[in-house]
């Protein structure tokens, strides 16, 4: 696995960790309720399920796969955990077509080409100067340039020419790191396999440089909107957290924390109406971020307590499909719609 042993060239990466499996490092949280309190202080309201999984992830040094509908706070969870643990947040935003060179590392080939060209200019200069005295000794010239090429090769495959991408960056960081692999369901299967390798070993082998091991295992969050089934192997490796729409109480509290200037009554009403809408059969349910947008809209409009007409007039902030809007407007304003 590791190329350290076979490669004659000694690894020069200064960030190489100790041999063996990386250390998880000191715990970042004391207890589940410690997770909850500190996240709440940072403006992220977790329930016991969320806090419990974050706590376990830290203790077991395992990645968390966070799955759920869009806008339920998956990305925000990772960011908030980074904030409260004073960790550096490293984010890998996934998209279709993301490959090793953007996820792990790549060689800065433009810089390498420039270096090669610079070398050639120097070498050509040498050549013309030596041409008079040394003509005909082609063999010696070749040997010299062979040595020069090996030096050059060693030179252009050194740290200076390496572009570290998020995964390598997270592995070799000496600080505490929260690695966010966002929307992992958009990756192709091959890249997912690469990710799995990194998350199993917490090390990266670079053939030209050697193996880089994590000094401290990063806290890893992978988010997924569930647009495709992830591989069994990746799921086995991770702890699983399903982030669904929050309970009435939690959503109300999220509104209270995230919407400046909102009154308790309006926050409560907003959460209740959204809960009500989520019981209807809709094409797309309002997410937490849409709840927040709606609450902000109402605050801007100076609403303190919402009535059906105001709700109807602003529903488009919450619902995106025409058929959903029509259904919701009817349900909210017609007496006993379900009876």
């Amino acid at each position: 696995m590791s190329t350290t042993d076979e490669t004659p060239r000694a690894p020069r990466a200064s960030s190489l960790g100790p041999l063996g499996f990386p250390e998880p490092g000191p715990p970042r949280f004391e207890s589940v309720s410690d997770v909850r309190t500190r996240l709440a202080e940072a403006g992220y309201l977790a329930d016991d399920g969320i806090a419990g999984v974050v706590y376990l992830a830290d203790r077991l040094a395992k990645p968390v796969l966070v799955e759920g509908p869009a806008g339920t706070g998956k990305t925000e969870l990772a960011k908030s955990v980074a904030r409260v643990t004073d960790s550096r947040l490293i984010r890998l935003q996934c998209y279709e077509g993301l490959d090793e060179s953007k996820a792990l590392y790549e060689w800065n080939y433009k810089k390498q080409l420039l270096r090669i060209q610079a070398q050639r200019v120097v070498a050509d200069g040498d050549g013309t100067a030596a041409a008079g005295s040394d003509a005909g000794t082609g063999d010696g010239g070749e040997t010299r340039s062979g040595v020069a090429w090996r030096d050059l090769e060693e030179d252009i495959f050194s740290e200076e020419f390496l572009l570290a991408r998020p995964l390598l960056e997270a592995i070799r960081s000496t600080e505490s790191v929260v690695l966010l692999v966002d929307e992992v369901d958009r990756l192709e299967l091959e890249t997912e396999a690469l990710l799995l390798e990194v998350l199993s070993e917490y090390q990266v082998s670079i053939p030209e440089l050697g193996t880089v091991r994590a000094e401290r295992i990063p806290l890893v969050f992978l988010t997924s909107n569930n647009t495709r089934e992830l591989s069994e192997a990746l799921k086995r490796r991770c702890l699983y957290l399903h982030l669904d729409y929050p309970s009435l109480e939690r959503e109300r509290d999220i509104v209270l924390t995230r919407v400046p200037g909102i009154g308790a009554e309006l926050a409560d009403q907003v959460a209740r109406i959204v809960r009500s809408l989520r019981t209807l059969e809709l094409k797309k349910y309002p997410s937490v971020s849409e709840t927040l947008d709606w609450a902000r809209t109402l605050v801007v409009l100076g609403v303190e307590s919402i009535d059906a007409e105001q709700a109807k007039a602003t529903l488009h902030v919450l619902l995106k499909y025409r058929s959903d809007l029509e259904r919701a407007a009817k349900e909210l304003t017609v007496a006993d719609a379900q009876a």
């Binding site: 419990g52 999984v53 968390v64 192709e188 499909y321």
Partner: protein
């Protein structure tokens, strides 16, 4: 603990969850990090390590409630003889009540008359008093469920008996009435009305769950963990048999289908975009080489884009296979953007094209719903007649099949001993790109009784058994 965990993991596996060895070891380790007395924490720790799909959560939860049920003498079915002194919480929550004088012993609340209990239930719900709701749930189960030790009836039977006696619909009406009376001018606006109803409904749901839990705890005490878990085991949504689904199962299938269609659409789109690499794209390679001084460092390839297929679905929608047809039509139309065209036909003994339903409705579910009421599919008696339906299809639409069309036939091919007219399939096969048959019956039943699927099969590319969403998903994702 380890023993319980081992049993629990085997139960999850028996229920169809793919729990690996690594995961069960993870669970054992995770358990060390939660306080043992904290049941909720234990539940989340086990869920995080053992359940990796939200559709499996329900099966997990049922098993968890059985394996880690609260235990103790207070849950014995014949609790009257049980140790009453072990029931401090009941004593605290429910007063002795009027009827107490005539009775001996009994836990808290045993002495209440039915009217007193109903009144307390109403007030507990009105004030959202959770402790009291739990106590009433216990009391109601003891009183109304009529549980007897060793009786082999399921939990739903006891639940039904308990709920019938509590008359929750009546309670909801009373709650609404008193909410109206409390309103400033004695009425609620439609919006307030709706929000109040939702709130009470969610409290009633909590009560119902409390009652279910109580029944389950007593059943565990009576029958033992494993036996009970076995009798509560339910198929996962993806394994529910289309032909024998209960109403509740159909509802969970409907919930499962939207995320499934999204996944399928992404997968199909991706498959088309990322076929194998095509030939070298010379122009693009040269364009990109400009940044490297004209050295073509990074060769670019053309990606072949396979043409989208055209789909024709011909579905039997009679009785036992109707659910299967509806789910398949729903699925195919929900991902219709992945095909160049989708046309659908439904039949019983007559046949009708229903493509227009999907073109006009902006909701696939609505369109599927319209099939039942608006499609013109009965010719003589409304018993499946594949032969007649297929020959009419051929006469009216046969010429519209092209070499780019894939034809999907859905049904159990139970033809009520009519003529099969299998030549139609042969003709279709000549014109179409592919002909597939999806049969919702178990393979073992094919060609038994009046099933004639074999006669059609000889002219199909392939006949697939398609009993559940798992098999349907697999078929559609391979479709071309």
């Amino acid at each position: 603990m380890l023993d319980v965990l081992t049993g629990f993991v085997s139960e999850l596996r028996a229920a169809g969850l793919p729990v690996s060895l690594t995961e069960s070891l993870d669970a054992a380790e995770a358990v060390h990090h939660v306080p043992l007395e904290d049941r909720e924490a234990l539940k989340y720790a086990l869920a995080a390590t053992l359940v990796k799909s939200s559709t499996h959560w329900k099966a997990f939860e049922t098993a968890f409630e059985v394996y880690f049920a609260m235990r103790g003498p207070q849950y014995d079915i014949d609790a009257d003889e049980g140790a009453d002194s072990d029931r401090p919480s009941d004593e605290a929550d429910l007063p002795p009540g009027e009827g107490q004088r005539g009775r001996q012993g009994g836990g808290g609340g045993d002495g209440l008359t039915p009217e007193e209990l109903a009144e307390m239930l109403f007030r507990a719900l009105m004030n959202a008093n959770e402790a009291q709701m739990a106590a009433i749930a216990r009391q109601a189960v003891g009183r109304y469920a009529g549980m007897e030790p060793g009786r082999p009836v399921g939990g739903t039977y006891y639940l039904y008996r308990t709920l019938r006696n509590l008359d929750l619909d009546g309670v909801l009406d009373r709650l609404m009435e008193s909410a109206r009376q409390e309103a400033p001018d004695g009425t609620l606006t439609p919006l307030e009305e709706r929000l109040a109803r939702d709130e009470f409904q969610s409290r009633l749901d909590a009560l119902r769950k409390e009652i279910e839990d109580e029944i389950r705890r007593r059943l565990v005490a009576d029958r033992g963990t494993e036996a009970l878990a076995r009798s509560l085991r339910k198929p996962l949504p993806e394994d529910i048999d289309f032909m024998h689904a209960t109403r509740e199962e159909l509802a969970s299938l409907r919930r499962a289908i939207t995320p499934l269609t999204r996944k399928l659409a992404v997968r199909l789109a991706r498959k088309r975009r990322h076929g194998r690499k095509g030939p070298l794209d010379f122009r693009s390679t040269m364009r990109h080489s400009l940044s490297t001084g004209g050295v073509p460092v990074d060769p670019k390839f053309r990606y072949p884009r396979p043409a989208k297929p055209e789909i024709m679905v011909i579905a039997d929608i009679s009785g036992s296979v109707a659910a299967f047809a509806r789910f398949t039509l729903h699925l195919v139309h929900a991902i219709s953007s992945q095909f160049s065209k989708v046309r659908s036909f439904v039949f019983i003994d007559g046949i009708d094209e229903i493509t227009r339903f999907f073109e006009t409705a902006d909701d696939v579910a609505d369109a599927v719903h319209r099939i039942n009421t608006e499609a013109d599919v009965v010719w003589v008696d409304g018993h499946s007649d594949y032969g007649h339906a297929l020959s009419v299809f051929w006469e009216r639409w046969g010429e519209e099949i092209t070499p780019r069309t894939s034809v999907l036939l859905l049904g159990d091919a139970r033809n009520n001993y009519h003529a099969t007219q299998s030549w139609v399939i042969q003709e279709i096969r000549h014109r179409a790109r592919h002909v597939y048959w999806l049969n919702p019956e178990p393979r073992a039943y094919w060609d038994t009784g009046d099933s004639v699927v074999g006669e059609y099969a000889v002219y199909c590319d392939e006949v697939f058994e398609c009993r559940n969403l798992r098999q349907l998903e697999h078929f559609v994702s391979e479709l071309e």
